[in-house]
């Protein structure tokens, strides 16, 4: 069987890509769509460097057969636009050295904070248990998560104020 066409939403845009049925989504995102934030490291689902969000939840693209993404909503860090509160928190706290693990960390934290806006430290550690940072920035990454929670709360408050102002 030859390559097949797979359709999904990538960072808000519908896409159609060619892939072989036994290729992983990681290869397709990099080769067909030019995304460099998903990075193959272990290829075993362990390290988190290849993380993307599938319907809002983190998954390892290195072990996700590409055709399983059919009809799904895929988000990579490119789709966050650079000024997302989690990204701003990483910059402020300087929660990286080489930056290799950072996209996976940011996406995992984004999904966590959407589910649990005020996680305690234990919850943060558990959520990030499968994301490895070879530079050992873990403490800073936890701080960045806490800072991102604050920034997101501020953003929500401003939104409420804006909508209150526009209706009054």
């Amino acid at each position: 069987m030859a390559a097949m066409e797979i359709h999904f939403t990538l960072n808000g845009q519908p896409v159609a890509v060619q892939a072989e049925p036994d290729e992983m989504l990681l290869e397709v995102l990099r080769r067909e769509l030019g995304l460099r934030s998903v990075r193959e490291t272990c290829g075993l689902g362990i390290c988190g460097a290849c993380t993307a969000l599938l319907n809002g939840q983190p998954i390892s693209t290195c072990i996700l057969l590409a055709p399983l993404a059919e009809g799904c909503d895929i988000t990579t860090v490119e789709g966050l636009g650079g000024r997302h509160p989690v990204q701003r928190a990483f910059e402020e706290v300087q929660a990286f050295q080489c930056g290799y693990c950072t996209p996976g960390m940011i996406l995992t934290i984004k999904a966590l904070l959407e589910e649990q806006p005020e996680p305690d430290e234990e919850t943060i550690r558990r959520a990030l248990g499968g994301n490895l940072c070879r530079c050992g920035c873990y403490l800073k990454i936890i701080q960045a998560t806490q800072r991102a929670a604050v920034l997101l709360a501020e953003e929500r408050r401003r939104q409420v104020e804006r909508s209150a102002a526009s209706t009054s």
């Binding site: 049925p21 075993l44 057969l65 248990g129």
Partner: protein, 297 residues
């Protein structure tokens, strides 16, 4: 040499999936969450003629409580394509089967749990997985469907060896059925390396209608259960300290542990004795305080 590219079979109904399963048999690898299949393919260990995915079959992902089984107890029915994450976060499961929700939450990382399915982890029969030992101790069964009809297989008889199940090549695992926990249930996952690792030694202990069932996972090719050792606790509730220690030591002596990167056979044997004892202590505590079930990490 040209690489062989497998066919991608994506049925949208169970009936269609069963027909494909009958037609292809072992020529097609079933893909549920695809975590295990993905790793095998990455490593070049699997080159099937076809991949048969169950992902497009919505009727295989559900969590339902059936009113009562023959003994008047409610039964939890889990569709094979339910993800670990959906199960662990279900209020239905958290309320009625807390030990189950807590155990699935101990598997790997959130990423793996978003992808991996309840059917996949059982059909996989990996010796180092968490859910099999617990489901065995809870006396859960699976439904195996084929064009011929369906069979109900106790988890105890499903996993028969190293990555080996009693499913036939024309069958699909479609559902897992879990009876109510009753007096109490605990699961302890002992890891020797890191928090998101597979277990080095896993112990599930359940008390139902006065009978104890201790199942040790991740130490041999399949979950280990010794009814004759558990019978020592017959009619003993709580299990006193000396008996808990004795049961732990007897399990350690009865099991022939494997050696792997998570621990040598010698190390595992010592940990089994301690973890079984601790599981029984936990079980006493849980039955005394809440008459319910809980997990311990």
């Amino acid at each position: 040499m040209a690489r062989h590219i497998p066919a991608w079979l994506a049925p949208t109904s169970l009936e269609e999936a069963l027909e494909l399963r009958a037609r292809y048999g072992e020529e097609a690898t079933v893909v549920a969450g695809g975590t295990f299949v993905g790793i095998l393919m990455n490593q070049g260990l699997l080159q099937p003629a076809a991949l048969l995915t169950l992902r497009q079959i919505p009727q295989l992902a559900y969590l339902r409580i059936e009113d009562a089984d023959a003994s008047g107890q409610p039964l939890l029915r889990i569709g094979a394509m339910t993800t670990h994450r959906a199960l662990e976060r279900s209020p239905l499961v958290q309320r009625g089967w807390p030990v189950l929700a807590a155990t699935f939450a101990l598997v790997a990382s959130p990423r793996v749990r978003n992808q991996a399915t309840v059917g996949g982890v059982l059909a996989d029969a990996d010796y180092a997985s968490d859910p099999p030992a617990l489901l065995h101790a809870l006396e859960a069964s699976v439904v195996a469907r084929s064009l011929q009809g369906e069979r109900l297989i106790p988890v105890e008889e499903l996993i028969i060896g190293h990555y080996e199940t009693s499913l036939r090549p024309d069958e699909l695992l479609t559902e897992v059925r879990v009876p109510r926990t009753m007096e109490g249930a605990v699961y302890r996952k002992f890891r020797s390396r890191s928090s998101e690792d597979r277990p080095c030694v896993a112990v599930a202990a359940v008390r139902r209608r006065g009978r104890l069932r201790v199942v040790v996972g991740a130490v041999a090719e399949r979950p280990q259960y010794f009814p004759e050792i558990c019978a020592l606790a017959e009619g003993q509730a709580p299990i006193e300290a000396a008996l808990a220690r004795e049961i732990g030591e007897r399990y350690a002596a009865a099991i022939e542990p494997i050696s792997d990167a998570r621990g040598s056979a010698h190390y595992r044997r010592r940990v089994i004795a301690v973890e079984v004892r601790r599981a029984l202590e936990d079980l006493n505590r849980i039955i005394a305080t809440e008459g319910g079930s809980q997990r311990h990490a």
